[in-house]
């Protein structure tokens, strides 16, 4: 009886702890990442600095789409990493989200501009259709189709674990 009790008291927590250890160290556990595929939604937006209108077909290529705003604190933290990606030849398009045009331009002057083009989504309509819940968020677009999505700060680890496998798989960039 006592031996049985000792055994139970020892095994039950051990099992649960080992199990959670395995789940946690499993490579796929990035809660912000998802790989639902869908066509980039219809939109018509102005480009931030020169007010040209662009439509959905603008994104018919391979891009990284990064949602940012001048009011977003985490975007400042993420910024150096995006700049290094851009220097390595990754085409990044910015989606300026619910932001005043002047604020966004001042922000870019202060920190530098890693984006090829920036779409100004003042109303947040495109962001809503993309399923954005806040800034920063990053989408991987392949031939006008969203193939990966990450909510939160992109850094070296996230880039390597969430995006790079998909990019290699599709032979993008």
């Amino acid at each position: 009886m006592n031996l049985l009790l000792r055994l139970i008291v020892f095994t039950v927590p051990t099992t649960f702890i080992l199990l959670f250890f395995m789940i946690l160290t499993n490579e796929d556990t990035y809660p912000g990442a998802d790989y639902d595929q869908f066509q980039v939604p219809e939109f018509e937006l102005k480009v931030l600095d020169n007010s040209i209108s662009v439509k959905s077909d603008f994104l018919n290529g391979d891009y990284v789409l990064n949602v940012w705003a001048s009011w977003c604190v985490t975007c400042i933290i993420e910024h150096p990493y995006l700049t290094s990606l851009s220097k390595n030849g990754i085409p990044i398009i910015g989606l300026n989200y619910k932001d005043e045009q002047e604020d966004a331009i001042i922000w870019l002057k202060k920190y530098g501009n890693p984006y090829q083009t920036i779409l100004h989504d003042y109303q947040g309509n495109l962001a809503l259709d993309l399923g954005v819940t806040g800034a920063p968020e990053t989408f991987l677009i392949n031939d006008g189709k969203v193939i990966a999505h990450y909510q939160g700060e992109v850094n070296d680890q996230i880039w390597n674990d969430v995006f790079l496998p998909v990019i290699k798989d599709r032979k993008m960039f």
């Binding site: 199990l19 789940i23 499993n26 556990t29 809503l128």
Partner: protein
């Protein structure tokens, strides 16, 4: 500068708590008067440093100091002071900070209220301090709330999540945390008892009031959370078996079993092994709750999205705590055997049966929480375990436990009695409950066995205790006021939940402007819809005129809001509350023909569910205060 002072005070507190741990665990004579005084004083200093650190942090939040990254990410100048303070526990780092401060507060109260001559005190303080050190290192190393954005702080903060801008939510997490961490006292005492290894020490009596107080906070905290999800998140019910609700329910179930078991151990030195095991289980489950919410392992409204490092640290720390406890338990098991065997049909026998039933409930919830995770890990597919699973397990076990409770009222401590099934109180309650259940069955034409069984079990308890009350008035027989209140509220809870599931209905209507739809006994007219612009959100506000069968009319104005800073859309429900039922309306999307989708729920007795849960908490308050009067 001030932020560094606050940061530094926290680090200092960590050092002092480590010192307390050293004094109590590694000095050979920790019970000498000199060392135990040292422990008491060092702990108090540590607590005051930590408290000052937290108060400075609150002050930083009130004064909009956005050079603190956490405050910049979660507060805003436009918020009222109340929400500036509550924004501190609106996300991971700050809420962890609050959690730790509460943990140290319980330790501090124990430190000042328990006499220095108590043999277990030095070791208890040591255990509490070492747990504090572990969590403070977790806070400072992996989730530092004192991170700064310098030299250029933002001009304004990113705002608190709008669903958290609500008075119930401002008090729900602190109450729940006080409950979770309060169980550190019985845990630390039982560990101290095991470390000490003298089975004659009566550690159970020392922790009774503390355990019941923590249980009260846990009960009230869970109730507040249930109420908040109902009206603010628009979930429309009282319980959803959401993983985070479940990780709060498990410690509650364990704590309820623990308190009963504790009572037996104090009274007759029986069930001592159960009591120790349960004290370890309650605290481990509280820690497990923190792990589930903060490791990012599940998706839920409550989960703080996070990096896996935090999860690993927490898991490792919980693992250490659990293994040391289990090791000590196994080591001392043979010396803490209970003195005598439990007699058949004595009060103890019923409590130990219900301990087993509660254990089964806890294990099932644990399975429900972890099974989807295991399944996803093994097969890479998402599944969810929902209400049908839990209902299938909870209803029979709870009904069974209620029936054992019913018979336990007649039983005596340490004495087996011969049950007279035709004795007045038993047959009185059984007959009345049967009549009541049959009436419900006929009147509402219900065939559902689970509903009828729960109503029967609930009324059995209520009638039995009403008989007890009447009996005590006429024959001056002593009754436990807290036991009576707590168990009557359990009966009330069972009955309210049964009626809620029996009678409540909901329907989605599509309804055009200025037209009227009928649903059940209600006539709902869509009067108006318009867009309102507010300072931090736009809202679509609809007005419905509802008329019930008695001809009474009232307006309900549900809303949909879109917040600017975070772009989040929230649903604001409109609820008409009466004693017996809530009429609950939310608006959905507009259809192509211009009509709107409107969801209408009629929720019966839902207020009674929360009321009975609060009443149960009140029973605990009665117990705590009656104990204080005695001592």
């Amino acid at each position: 500068m001030i932020i560094e002072i606050s940061h530094f005070l926290s680090i200092l507190a960590t050092g002092l708590f480590l010192l307390v741990g050293y004094f109590s665990m590694l000095t050979p004579s920790s019970n000498s008067r000199y060392i135990s005084n040292l422990i008491v004083r060092t702990y108090s200093h540590g607590f005051f440093f930590l408290l000052s650190s937290f108060l400075i942090y609150v002050w930083l939040a009130i004064t909009d100091n956005f050079s603190v990254q956490y405050i910049a990410n979660h507060s805003n100048t436009a918020l009222p002071i109340f929400y500036k303070i509550s924004s501190i526990w609106s996300a991971h780092e700050g809420s962890m900070f609050l959690w730790i401060v509460f943990l140290s507060l319980w330790g501090f109260l124990f430190n000042i209220r328990v006499k220095n001559s108590e043999v277990l005190k030095p070791k208890t303080m040591g255990v509490i301090s070492l747990i504090l050190v572990g969590f403070l290192i977790f806070l400072l190393a992996t989730s530092n709330p004192f991170e700064t954005i310098l030299p250029i702080p933002p001009l304004n903060g990113a705002d608190i999540n709008p669903v958290l801008q609500d008075p119930a939510l401002a008090i729900h997490p602190p109450t729940l945390y006080l409950g979770y961490v309060g169980f550190v006292i019985p845990f630390a005492c039982s560990i101290a008892f095991l470390l000490y290894g003298d089975s004659k020490i009566n550690w159970e009596a020392l922790v009774k009031t503390w355990s019941v107080s923590a249980w009260v906070f846990l009960t009230v905290g869970i109730t507040l959370g249930s109420w908040w999800a109902y009206y603010e998140l628009g979930w429309g019910g009282y319980w959803f078996w959401d993983p985070v609700e479940n990780v709060a329910l498990m410690p509650w179930l364990a704590a309820t079993a623990f308190i009963h078991s504790l009572g037996v151990s104090i009274k007759s030195s029986q069930l001592r092994i159960w009591t120790i095991l349960l004290s370890i289980l309650v605290f481990s489950l509280s820690l497990f709750g923190a792990f589930i919410v903060r490791s990012g392992i599940i998706d839920s409204v409550h989960a703080f999205a996070n990096d896996p490092d935090r999860g690993l640290y927490l898991l490792g720390f919980i693992g250490i705590i659990v293994f040391i406890s289990v090791f000590l338990f196994i080591l001392r098991l043979s010396s803490i055997q209970s003195l005598s065997r439990i007699k058949k049909f004595s009060k103890q026998s019923f409590i130990s049966i219900n301990n087993i039933l509660f254990g089964a409930l806890i294990f099932s919830v644990m399975l429900g929480v972890t099974y989807p995770l295991i399944y996803e890990f093994l097969f890479d597919q998402k599944i969810s375990v929902g209400a049908p699973f839990y209902n299938a397990i909870f209803i029979p076990i709870v009904v069974l436990a209620a029936i054992f409770l019913f018979f336990s009222v007649d039983s005596k401590w340490s004495r087996s009695i011969n049950f007279k099934f035709i004795s007045a109180p038993i047959s009185f309650s059984i007959l009345l409950s049967l009549a009541f259940t049959l009436f419900i069955m006929q009147y509402f034409e219900s065939q559902s066995i689970s509903v009828l069984a729960s109503i029967f079990a609930g009324s059995l308890i209520i009638f039995r205790y009403i008989y007890e009350i009447i009996n005590s008035i006429f024959s001056k027989k002593f009754i436990n006021p807290f036991s009576v209140i707590a168990h009557i509220s359990l009966g009330l809870l069972l009955i309210s939940i049964s009626f809620n599931s029996l009678l409540s209905t909901e329907r989605a209507l599509s309804i055009g402007l200025n037209s009227t739809e009928a649903y059940k006994d209600l006539k709902i007219s869509f009067k108006d819809i318009g867009v309102e612009n507010n300072t931090n959100y736009d809202s679509i506000k609809a007005t419905f005129l509802v008329e019930d069968q008695t001809g009474r009319t009232f307006n309900l104005k549900p809303e949909k809001r879109r917040y600017f800073t975070r772009g989040q859309i929230t649903t604001e429900t409109a609820i008409h509350v009466t004693l017996l039922r809530d009429i609950y309306i939310t608006i959905g999307d507009q259809l192509d023909d211009g009509s709107w989708i409107v969801n209408i729920q009629i929720n019966y007795l839902i207020r009674w569910i929360w009321l009975s849960a609060l009443l149960m908490g009140l029973a605990g308050v009665v117990l705590v205060f009656s104990n204080r009067v005695k001592t």
